[in-house]
Amino acid sequence: MNNRVIIELTYITAAVLFCFGIKMLSSPKTARKGNLVSAFGMLLAVVATLLYKGLDLRWIVAGMALGAVTGVLAARLVQMTAMPQMVAVFNGFGGAASLLVAWSEYHIRQPERIGLMPIAVAATVIIGAVTFTGSMIAYAKLAERIPGRPILFPHQHLVNAVLGITALGCTVIFLMSPAAHYGLFLFVMLIALVLGILLVIPIGGADMPVVICLLNSYSGLAAAAAGFVILNNVLIVSGALVGASGIILTRIMCKAMNRSLANVLFGGFGAVRRGKEGYRGEVKSLSVEDAYYLLEAARSVIFVPGYGMAAAQAQHVVRELGELLESNGAEVKYCIHPIAGRMPGHMNVLLAEANVPYEQLVEPEDVNPIMDTVDVAVVIGANDVVNPAARDEPGSPLYGMPIIEVDRARTCIVIKRSLNPGFAGVDNPLFFKPNTRMLFGDAKEVVSALVAEFKEAA
């Protein structure tokens, strides 16, 4: 077998190792080993590449040595808390490297006509550039080199749009006869670099992890694009893998923050909308899966059971969900409103039957003062007992009754079948609050599904 074949077979092995690595990284038990597997794959790929005939290794080795030392030092010396920004920097370098690879290829080959190669070059350069500067801004925000808050300026939208269209237009012209437009090539690169900055700067520091994750997906795509430029399989495969899994991970992270990706990316723009037509505001419902991500990331959870839990006979699954949350590290309490259910002590009977320890049962007086610190309040088939109208609206028939103020929790998930009112027949403004999410369905079914999500992930 010739050298070329050996190299390619090694590449295949490396790609397979990357697959295993990513898979293993997504489960706590195997994560660390997964990282080593993937690192070993990378080693194989690099060694195989060095086997290419006719490579002048001197400079390469120098660059690698320097890079390796820098990388190790940076990774080792950085403080635990500063790791995310470190990842941003690394990621930016990866994007920059892809850009440089494509540039150098373009510089040498100077393609005359449109074709896949120049298209790939343009894609690599644009994506790589955005990744590079975007990551650097993310780094700066996290490291507080620049303010973490969203930085807004007038007509941001417009400026970005103009820049984007310009870049696109120039690219098209460039692609017509690539070799002839070296200047345009550099101009596009410049615009992309600026775009990277402008796109990230209006995003708040708290959202940076999601942004980095997205940029990570981009840098994978950049690598894949670079693979098309130099016609290299392993770049394409690995880059595509990272590009795809990065997007999935971004989605997962958004869900854990109870945000949409669009909201993260463009949240800084525009004023916050506020409905003013009474309760007829916006009802935001969420899927079981989204609720899972919310709960999975929560450190403190309060369950508020009501008559719906009893009607659905969901007490056993609720307790099970509570146990799963606890073993996931969350603090779990059950807040029982004295009038919940249809007889005094209704919830007590059911939760005792389901073996919820008395110690986890708390009363509204205990919970309301600390409600702001609760990550997620899960209302399970309760309604009147969590109706904020009883607190806020003197005209309400419930006015004056103490409630469990779940609307003050960071997020409130309400599990019930519809928007129908409860026993008292009074509409509930809770369902329209900005931090409320409705999870429609029969309490037992929905909570079972949540339990299933947790078990699946274990």
């Binding site: 697959c19 790791m83 290829e105 290299n232 690995s238 899994s245 991970l249």
Partner: protein, 94 residues
Amino acid sequence: MMVMLLFIFVLAMFLGFELISKVPSQLHTPLMSGSNAISGITIVGAIIAAGRGDTVFTVILGVLAVFLATINVVGGYVVTDRMLGMFRHGGRRK
């Protein structure tokens, strides 16, 4: 040829989507960082670009790319390993 590369690209994307489905929140950052290290695979391209030595300029570009990509790869793996090492002990799962 190009078509075949595209085939490979599509399959790999598909595989990427399938590979991860549910990730506990404490693994979000390590997974991001670990897959970021993989995206440093561009080092392969960088080595080739730098090694062919066609022009001084491309060698400079190439070596710079090698340098940056190496940082990405090496730093990425090391930092991921460090993060995961933390969980082993102080982590909230036993």
